[in-house]
Symmetry: D2
Subunit: 361 residues, 4 copies
C-alpha cells in the first residue's frame, strides 16, 4: 500500500538493494509521447554510484530496459514497465549485520513491522530503490517538457557550508559541472573538499538541496489535502534521509509580518505576475505561474565507517562495524532524485488539471 | 480529487466559508468504539473563532451534529457524517473584493483553475474548512486513545519570539492555559502582547507550531512513498498558511556529522530504546517507539487591515482594503488543527499496520 | 473503505435507514456546470416511497439540500454536499427483530463483520442509502447531458412476466407513464396486477431491469481491470438485491459462434458504425460509439409479510414475523437507481478520457 | 489508471502480447508467507497456450521470474515483482492487419482512445495480459490457503452444450482431468469434440464457467459499493471476452417469490448455516460462511479463421482474413484466470476485514 505514487500518472516501484532487479511500472502516461530512452538513461547516470571519489564505489551499470507501453517510439497509453538489473551485489558484506540493528537505519523498524527482513544492503529501505523513481521521473520530465516546464535542483548546503545565493543568482545550467552538483564552482570545491575530508575520517555529513521548477502555468494543484506544495513535500520527505521541506520563504517567513510577506500582483503583458515571489509560486495549493522553489534537508548518512554500539535481535549489546560501500554525503546523487520527484508530482497535477472545468481546455 | 484524506480511515470534507454548512464524512472508523461527541465539541471549541481579542471576532457556535454511523453510542463501522452549520456569514463584507485578487490569497489561482470562484470569505480556500478536519480528527483521537497514544502541539514561535526549550522541557499539560497556546506562561505573555500589537497595527505575523506524539508503538508507517513522516509532512503542509515541515533534527541536522547524529540503540526492560532521539521517533518511514516530534512553519496571515495594491479579473490595477474579520496570527487556533492532522495520519497507519503480517497480531 | 465510488468524479455516501439523515459528498464535479436542483429532486421523486400501492407506504419527502460547491447556480469545482433528512422513521417497528437475523437479510453478516449492528430498518444495509446515489447520479446526468448523453432504464421482467421486445422496439420516453416503469403499457399492466397479487399474498417477487445509454462517444472506458462494462457491472451489482449483470448478448451470446457474433464495421458518414451491436457498445472495455445496453437481475425482496423461522444472536430458533413497510417488488423504484449508477460510471470515464492522450482534445 | 486491482493486496500488471515481457507488481502481500514458486508456475502452466489441439498453438514457456519481495523463501512485505518474458512472438503475422479494425476486437476503440495502437497480437488488449494476473493470483491463493480457503472453477457450458448438474453434484477435484476442464468426463468429451469441430470449421464458440469458493468465513466483504459480489463481478467482467456475471440464483432467481428464495438460518454446532444457499454465500455484500458460487459468460473468440469485411483507419472497406494462432474456445484456458481473479478479490477482502472492528481479532 505504499510503493505507489500518483493518482493519474501513477508509478509502482519494486526491488531490493541486493535482489535480482529493481524497477517501476508507470501507469497513466499519456499516449503519443515521443519516447526517449536516452533521456531516461541520462538521469540514471546522474544518480548512479561511482561517479567520483566522494560517492559509493559500488559499480552498477543501472541500465534501464523498457518492457512495455512503447511502440514504434511512441507511448501507447498502456503501462510502461522499466527494469534495472542489480549487478554488483556483494551480499556477503552484510552477513555480519544479519541480526544487528544498525543505528539510525531501518533495520529495527522493518523487523518490527514485518517480522522478517532482507538485511542485504538494507533491502527495500536502501536508497537503491530511488533508481526506479529516477527512471520513472525521467519519463515524467519528457511529458512536462512538451509543456515547456524546466526542472532543476542543486546542492545548496553541505554540513555548515552554505551557498549564500538565491536560485536567481546562480546559473542553473552549471549544476552538473562538478561532482557536488552545486552551481557555484568555488563553493562546490569547498564542499567537495569537506566531503572528502569527512569520508577519510570514516564519517558522513548532511546538507540541503534547493529545487526550482520553471514554466508551470497558473492553475495546477488542488485545494485542501492535495495542495501542490503538500504533495511536493510528501514526495521530497519520501526520499531516504530527508528530514525537512520548506517552500517559498519557508521557516524564515514565519518571523515576517504580513505587510512584508504579501506578494503584490501586477500585469505583465497578458500575464498576471507578482512583484515578489515569497509564495514560492503556489497560493492556496495551486500554482500561480511564478517559479516554484523549495529546500530539502538531508541528515548525514546513517552508515559510517566507525564502530558503533547497538543491539541485536536477541536484545544483546553488540558492536556494529562500518563495512560495505556507502556515500559519505548523499546529496550529489540525491539531486536527480529530487528532480525526479518534482517531475512525478507535477505531471500528475498536469493531468488532473484537465478535469477541473466542464469546458476544457 | 483532493478533499479526501486517508487510505483506510478516510475523511472527505466539504463546505465553504460562507455556504450553508461545512462537514466531513468519515469512512473506515472501526466499529465498537465508544463514541464521545463532547470530545469532538471540545476540539471544535479550541479551534473556534472569538476565543480572545487576538483571534477573529467572527462568532460561530461550531456545533457538530452527527448524522450517521453511531448507534447506541457505539460506532457501527459505517460512515460517520459530521455536520457544522455556518451561522455568522457576513457575506456582504466581501462584495468589495468580488472581482479583485487579494495579495497572497488563493483568489487568482482558484479563478484560473476553475473559471469561477466563490469569493465570499475565500470560499473553499478559507481555513474555515479546517473545522471539519478538527471534528474528524477528534474522532481519530478517540480511536488512538484506546491504544494509549497522546497527541500534543503548541506554539513555539511567533514572529521572532522563540520558545528556547525543547518539548521535553515544557509541561505539555499547560498548553491550553493561555490564549496563545504556548506552554511557557512567561513566553506566552510576550507572544500575546506582540500579536496584540501587530493586530492594532492592522498587520499580521507568522510563527511555528511544535507537534509531539507519544505512545506510538514501533512498526507503524510504511516504506517508500507513504513514509510516516512524509504523510505527516503532507498533512501539515495541507493546512492553510503552512510553509515548512521538519521532524527530528530537521534542517538543523543537515549540518551535523553522522557520528553525532546516529541514535544508539539499547534495551530498557523489554523495550528497544535509543539513547538520543534525533530521528524523531521514525526510522525508514516507520515508527521506532520513541516520541515523534516535528515543527510546522506558518506564514503571516495574508489578510491585513491595510490598503494594498492589486489587480482585478479584468487586469486593472485596484486597491484592496482590509475588511472582514481575521486573525492577526493564526497559530493559537491552528494548534487543534495540527493535533487533528496528527491524529488522522496516525489512525490510518494504525489500521494499515494490521495488514502487514500474515499472522496478526 | 467502501462507501466511495469513482476515481475523479467521486461520491461518498453516508446514512442509515433510521438515522438522522442520509447524503453524499460529490468530489470532482467539474466547475462551470449550470446546477439544476430541480433535476436532482425529480430523480429523487422517481425513487421515493409511496408512489403507488405496489411500493412501500413509508412517507419520505426526500428533499435534497445542497450544502456546498455551488455558487450563483454554477458548480465551483469544490465538493458538493447533498443532504436528505430522514422523516418517517418508525424505529419501533424494528424492536421485535433487534436480536434476530432476518432470512436473506444482512443482519447476520453485518453483526459478524462489525460486532455491532443498527437494526432499525436494516441500518446501512437498507436500500434507503440509494437515495444518496440517486441525488449524486442526477448531478452526474447534468454533466453528461452537456455531452449529449441520454440514460434510460426500464423494467423488462417481473417474476416470469417478460417483455419480449428489445430496447429498440419500445418507446424509451414512455417509461414513467406507469407505476411499474415498463414502457409497454399492456405488459406493464400485467406486471402491476401480478405485483399487487403478490403483495396481497404477503410475498415478494424479483425481476430484471434493462439499461440503455445513448450518445457515448467512442473511446471512453479503460483497458484491463476498469473496463467500461466491468465498472457498469460492479455499479449495478452494488445495488441492493441485484444478483446478475450482462451486457450486449450476455449469457445468451455464450452459445453463439464467432461467425454469428462478430460485429462488422462500416462507415456511416463520418462515423464508424457496426452492422449489428452484439457487443453492446463496448469492445475491449472501451465504448465504440454504439448504444450501450445491459440487463440487471434482482432477487425478490427478502422482507415478506409472513412468519419465517430463523435464529437470534444467541443462536436460539425464533420466528421472524413480517412487519414494517416494504416493497413487494423493488424494480419500479430501482429504475432511477440503475440510471444513477449508469451516470456515475460514465461521468467518471468521461473525465478519465481527458487524460489518455498527450494532446487533448 | 486501470491496470491496477485491489486496495490492500494490490496488483499492477504491464505488458503487451508481442512486447518484451509481461508481468505484475504485487503490493501489500503480507510478510511471513512461505513463498511457493512452483505453485505459481503450476497455475501459469494451466493457462499457457498449446496444452491440446483445441487451444492456440503459440508456444510460450510462460516461466515466472521473481524479482523482489521474497527473501529466504519468505515474503518480506515489500512489493513482489513477477516477470514473464514473451518468447514466441510472430509479429509478422499481424502486419496485414496493422491499419485494419478486426471485427469485435479492440482495435478501433484503442485507436480512438489513444490515437496510437500496438497492433501486434492485439497489444495490451490481448488475453496474454492475463498471464500476469494468473501469476499474481497464484500468490493470493497461497495466502488464502493459510485460511483454509479453496478456489475452484470449471467449464459448465460450451455453445449449447450444458452441464446439467450443480457444483455440488460434480467432483471438483477432477476439473483438470481433461482438456476442456469440465469435471464430468462424459460431458467434457462432447464439449471437446464440439470445440474441435468448430476449430476445423475456422470458427469459434463461447460458453460459461462456474466458480466455487469454499471456506470463506462469515464477515468478509464490504457494504455499499464494494460488495463482495460486486467486486467478484467486476473482476470476472474484466477478463477478456466476458459478457455476463451472476451469483447464487442469479437471473433465474429473478422469477422466484421471496417465500421460495429466502435462505432460512439454523445452527449447526457452533456455526450459523442456511438451509438453502440461494444467496450464493453472500448477504448484503458480506460473506455468510456458506459456499460462494457464480457463473461467468464468455462470448465466442472474436478471431476466426474466415474472411470478414471491415474498414481500415482510413475508413475504407477491407477484408480481414483470419491468421495468427488463436483459441477456437477460450474457456478451458480461462478457468485458471477465473480462479486467479477469485483469489485476488478474496485476499483483498481478507486483509480489509482486519480493519473493521476496533478490537481485532
Amino acid at each position: 500500500m505504499s510503493s505507489t505514487y500518483g493518482k493519474i500518472f501513477k508509478i509502482s516501484t519494486f526491488g531490493e538493494s541486493h535482489g535480482a532487479a529493481i524497477g517501476a511500472v508507470v501507469e497513466g502516461c499519456p499516449a503519443g509521447l515521443d519516447f526517449d530512452l536516452e533521456a531516461i538513461q541520462y538521469q540514471l547516470d546522474r544518480r548512479k554510484p561511482g561517479q567520483s571519489r566522494i560517492t559509493t564505489q559500488r559499480k552498477e551499470g543501472d541500465v534501464a530496459e523498457v518492457l512495455s507501453g512503447v511502440f514504434e517510439n511512441k507511448t501507447t497509453g498502456t503501462p510502461i514497465g522499466l527494469l534495472i538489473r542489480n549487478e554488483d551485489q556483494r551480499s556477503k558484506d552484510y552477513s555480519h549485520i544479519a541480526d544487528k540493528f544498525r543505528p539510525s537505519h531501518a533495520d529495527f523498524t522493518y523487523t518490527t513491522k514485518y517480522g522478517v527482513r532482507d538485511y542485504r544492503g538494507g533491502g527495500r529501505s536502501s536508497a537503491r530503490e530511488t533508481a526506479a523513481r529516477v527512471a520513472a521521473g525521467a519519463l515524467a520530465m519528457q511529458v512536462l517538457k512538451t509543456q515547456g516546464i524546466e526542472i532543476y535542483s542543486y546542492v545548496s548546503q553541505v554540513g555548515n557550508l552554505k551557498l549564500d545565493k538565491s536560485y536567481k543568482e546562480v546559473d542553473l545550467n552549471r549544476i552538473d559541472e562538478n561532482a557536488v552538483r552545486c552551481p557555484d564552482p568555488e563553493v562546490a570545491q569547498r564542499m567537495f573538499d569537506y566531503i572528502d575530508e569527512v569520508r577519510k575520517a570514516g564519517d558522513s555529513v548532511g546538507g540541503v538541496i534547493t529545487g526550482v521548477i520553471k514554466g508551470v502555468p497558473a492553475g495546477w494543484g488542488e485545494p485542501v489535502f492535495d495542495k501542490l506544495h503538500a504533495e511536493l513535500g510528501k514526495a521530497m520527505l519520501s526520499i531516504n534521509a530527508v528530514k525537512g521541506f520548506e517552500y517559498g520563504t519557508g521557516f524564515e517567513g514565519a518571523s515576517w509580518l504580513g505587510s512584508q510577506h504579501n506578494d503584490i500582483y501586477f500585469k505583465e503583458g497578458d500575464k498576471v505576475r507578482t512583484q515578489t515571489n515569497y509564495s514560492g509560486g503556489i497560493q492556496g495549493g495551486i500554482s500561480n505561474g511564478e517559479d516554484i522553489y523549495f529546500r530539502v534537508a538531508f541528515k548525514p548518512t546513517a552508515t559510517i565507517m566507525r564502530d558503533q554500539t547497538s543491539i541485536n535481535e536477541a536484545g544483546e549489546e553488540v558492536v556494529v562495524s562500518g563495512k560495505g560501500r556507502h556515500d559519505p554525503c548523499v546529496l550529489p546523487r540525491a539531486v536527480p532524485i529530487v528532480d525526479a520527484m518534482s517531475a512525478l508530482v507535477l505531471v500528475d497535477f498536469m493531468l488532473r488539471a484537465r478535469t477541473s472545468k466542464l469546458l476544457f481546455p
